[in-house]
């Protein structure tokens, strides 16, 4: 009797070895559920959900210029998700990609602003890229160093580092790098410092695609990747196996920050042609979702970041054509991400309901 009372209505149990087709059914179901909930939200604003979804898709992919803009949105998301992946694999919670992107953009912008007339364009761009990588890497190395030495909390540390570098950019905008006095705007870069376009989009997309392959190989086919995986599973095992955990941590964070820094360079040089405090624009956080949804698989990240870019560009078109506020689209994106991440829970756990027979037994 007592035992039955203590049995909760719903219990969770870890489940393993769910068949592949079931996993995909759950995933598709969650996306359908999200679309359904999204349709409800759109219906509330007075827009026809079918037309609205159609508008989002055609707005993001319907025209050459639309596809270009969508790709432009996807590039930093993909690049940054790639950067975060090794840290998360290691269970090092780097939520400072935002700051690492910004640091990279600052360093790249320095060369764009002050070295544009001294270097030929290809050299300048390479220097900017390297500067971005080093700056982003160093920005990430600082919290890693403290974590390795004194076991500080990397989540808080990386988060705080974001605010510092964004403050630095604000100071640069209003101070030493300001263009027209009082405008708070850094002048547009010289054309030599802007990434050339390939197929209508700045060539950052080529860089991140190369990084996809690099990251796949690095994570799965190198000693470094193996060390990262072992530390992620168990720090003690790694120690026992003779790995220098602190060193691996710092090395991985430097790499992660460096890739984020390159993303910062791509965004500043390719997309904005200038530096401003919103250069990272939340990419550092959104890409965490991209990385998790892809389960840290580099190739899956291409698809997920493309999907988010389609949603984001589609949301803009939705606002243009149907006057649906972009915040509504943000809600829909949020629902979709929530459902997609949430469904992984049902893939890993199953719910066990309290058997009715117990209740009847209690009554009698």
């Amino acid at each position: 009797m007592n035992h039955e009372k203590r049995t909760p209505l719903i219990r969770l149990a870890k489940r393993e070895g769910l068949e592949g087709w079931k996993v995909w059914c759950i995933r598709c179901g969650s996306i359908l559920l999200a679309l359904l909930l999204g349709a409800l939200v759109m219906g509330l604003t007075g827009a026809n959900p079918v037309t609205a979804y159609g508008t989002m898709i055609s707005g993001a992919l319907g025209k050459k210029s639309a596809i270009r803009q969508t790709v432009k949105i996807a590039v930093p998301l993909l690049g940054c998700a790639l950067a975060i992946a090794p840290c998360f694999k290691m269970r090092f919670w780097n939520i400072g990609a935002e700051g690492q992107i910004t640091a990279g953009a600052v360093a790249a912008s320095y060369f764009a602003l002050f070295w544009a007339d001294r270097l030929p364009s290809p050299v300048l761009l390479i220097v900017m890229g390297i500067a971005g990588a080093v700056a982003g890497g160093v920005w990430a190395l600082i919290p890693a160093f403290f974590k390795a030495k004194w076991n500080t909390n990397e989540t808080l540390f990386t988060l705080m580092m974001n605010y510092i570098i964004i403050g630095v950019v604000r100071w640069l905008q209003g101070g030493p790098w300001e263009g027209r006095k009082g405008s708070q705007i850094i002048p547009q870069f010289d054309s030599a410092a802007c990434l050339p376009r390939v197929l209508g989009v700045h060539c950052g997309w080529i860089i991140v695609l190369v990084l996809v392959v690099f990251m796949h190989v690095y994570m799965n086919h190198t000693k470094h990747g193996y060390e990262i995986a072992v530390i992620g599973d168990s720090v003690n095992t790694a120690r026992y196996a003779g790995m220098n955990v602190g060193r691996v941590m710092m090395r991985t964070m430097f790499l992660s920050g460096a890739i984020s820094g390159v993303v910062g360079f791509i965004v500043a040089s390719g997309a904005n042609n200038t530096l401003y405090d919103g250069v990272a624009g939340g990419v550092g956080f959104t890409s965490i979702t991209v990385a998790w949804l892809s389960q840290l698989n580099a190739f899956a990240m291409v698809g997920i970041s493309a999907m988010l870019a389609v949603l984001s560009k589609g949301a803009e078109t939705l606002q243009t054509r149907m006057a649906v506020p972009t915040s509504i689209s943000d809600i829909i994106t949020g629902i979709l991400l929530f459902c997609m991440l949430g469904c992984e829970f049902f893939i890993n756990y199953r719910l066990i309901f309290r058997k009715n027979s117990h209740k009847e037994a209690a009554k009698s």
Partner: protein
């Protein structure tokens, strides 16, 4: 297994139901003002041509700011109405909350692809991104409000526009000055305590020009007035603006004015028991015991002019700037309950003088810089180093603001105005 299939099946059923039900979920909403306005304007159907112009408007905020963007929306609505009476329908497509980054470039491309004939960018920082799109769409006209590249760039389809807001500032200054003089005359304050506190966004030419003209207006009727300026480092930060107003009142300022987007300086002035004059919007409703008057740019005449030109296939000014002469600058209602007696008459008199050109706001005989009269100052920057190097702005006894280009270029510090902080320069 069975249970799993059952869940799957039921989910599929729910979905199919929803798909059927979704069809009637409402009509697509187009931001199509003329359709609403036509019944209101009975003479519109009489217009024979019935031209339609599709206009894109890119805004940095949305109308809820009750300030900067709201003021554009008011202009948009008034222009639409005026044009409807002329038989021109305007179909607006508005983008809200766009950042001053490549998102603005995307917004311009998107509006161009949507078939807009004219695209208006409402914020200063939009211009560089607009300029990346304009060359690809030579048949579309692009406007960057408050910025200044168009007179110098090689493109025929880019435009700038601003208004002589300094005229309105001067008038607001006159209202403030009369109130201060009344307080001195009544013995509420001594002459040396007539201090104005000004909440400024940044030490940007537009702001400097604004508070200088305001100060000159006040001093024209209250000779002993001085002014303190506090920059808040943001165009729109309600809390910081309130803090700045509060600090200025504590320093002894008995009159507050502002170049920032929120109404908090007005409400702060009221709670501190001092007076206030506003910008962008009528602030009497939020601070009836403090707010004397406000001034704002009226974008309607320019929108009307630009859209009508596009409708008729004519070219229009690449750099447009008008003031009270075309009602591009207007005053909000005077708060007669608290304004000094005779203010309305004085206001009408000064306004007439500005309209007729008899009164120059930046008359060089009315101010000094480090004790000396201003003899020379350049207006334009032609080499891109952000320091004016061309076109003498001082002639005929006055500094000619917004004369060579629409964007303000008076960025001098005159005697009598104290900058409390300048780190936002």
């Amino acid at each position: 297994m069975k249970k799993f299939l059952a869940i799957l099946l039921s989910l599929a059923m729910v979905l199919s139901l929803a798909a059927c039900g979704g069809g009637g979920g409402g009509q697509p909403v187009q931001d199509n003002k003329p359709a609403e306005n036509q019944p209101a304007a009975p003479d519109a159907p009489a217009a024979p041509e019935g031209k339609t112009v599709k206009v894109g408007l890119i805004c940095i905020g949305d109308e809820n700011d009750q300030g900067y963007t709201y003021n554009f929306i008011r202009g948009k609505e008034a222009a639409t109405e005026a044009l409807a009476a002329k038989g021109i329908n305007v179909e607006w497509v508005t983008k809200w909350n766009i950042g001053e980054d490549s998102g603005c470039e995307d917004a311009n491309i998107e509006l161009a692809d949507e078939g807009c004939d004219l695209i208006i960018n409402n914020s200063f920082g939009f211009e560089p991104f607009m300029l990346k799109v304009a060359p690809d769409y030579p048949e579309i006209e692009f406007i960057a409000c408050t910025n200044q590249a168009s007179w110098g760039d090689s493109l025929d389809n880019t435009h700038n526009a601003f208004a002589n807001i300094y005229e309105g500032r001067y008038l607001a200054g006159v209202v403030a000055g009369m109130k201060l003089q009344q307080m001195i005359d009544e013995g509420t304050i001594t002459a040396d305590k007539a201090v104005i506190g000004y909440v400024g966004a940044f030490s940007f030419a537009e702001v400097i020009s604004g508070f200088t003209s305001y100060f000159l207006g006040a001093r024209s009727v209250c000779p002993s007035v001085t002014m303190k300026v506090q920059f808040v480092g943001s165009w729109s930060d309600a809390t910081e603006e309130a803090n700045a107003a509060s600090a200025l009142a504590d320093m002894g300022c008995v009159m507050i004015s502002q170049h920032s987007d929120n109404t908090t300086p007005a409400t702060t002035a009221q709670s501190k028991g001092v007076f206030h004059t506003g910008y962008n919007n009528d602030m009497i409703s939020v601070a009836p015991e403090a707010s004397l008057i406000g001034t704002r740019i009226n974008w309607a005449p320019y929108f009307e002019y630009a859209i009508e030109s596009v409708a008729n296939g004519e070219s229009f000014d690449q750099d447009w700037c008008h003031g009270m002469d075309m009602d591009a600058v207007v005053m909000t209602d005077l708060n007669e309950d608290i304004a000094a007696p005779g203010t309305a008459e004085k206001l009408a008199e000064v306004e007439a003088d500005i309209r007729s050109g008899k009164l120059q706001v930046f008359d060089t005989s009315t101010f000094t810089i480090e004790g000396k009269k201003l003899e020379t100052a350049f207006a334009l920057d032609t080499d891109g180093d952000f320091a004016p190097d061309s076109e003498e702005a001082v002639f005929d006894g006055a500094f000619h603001e917004s004369y060579f280009q629409s964007a303000p270029y008076f960025a001098l510090t005159i005697d009598g105005i104290e900058w409390l902080n300048a780190e936002f320069g």
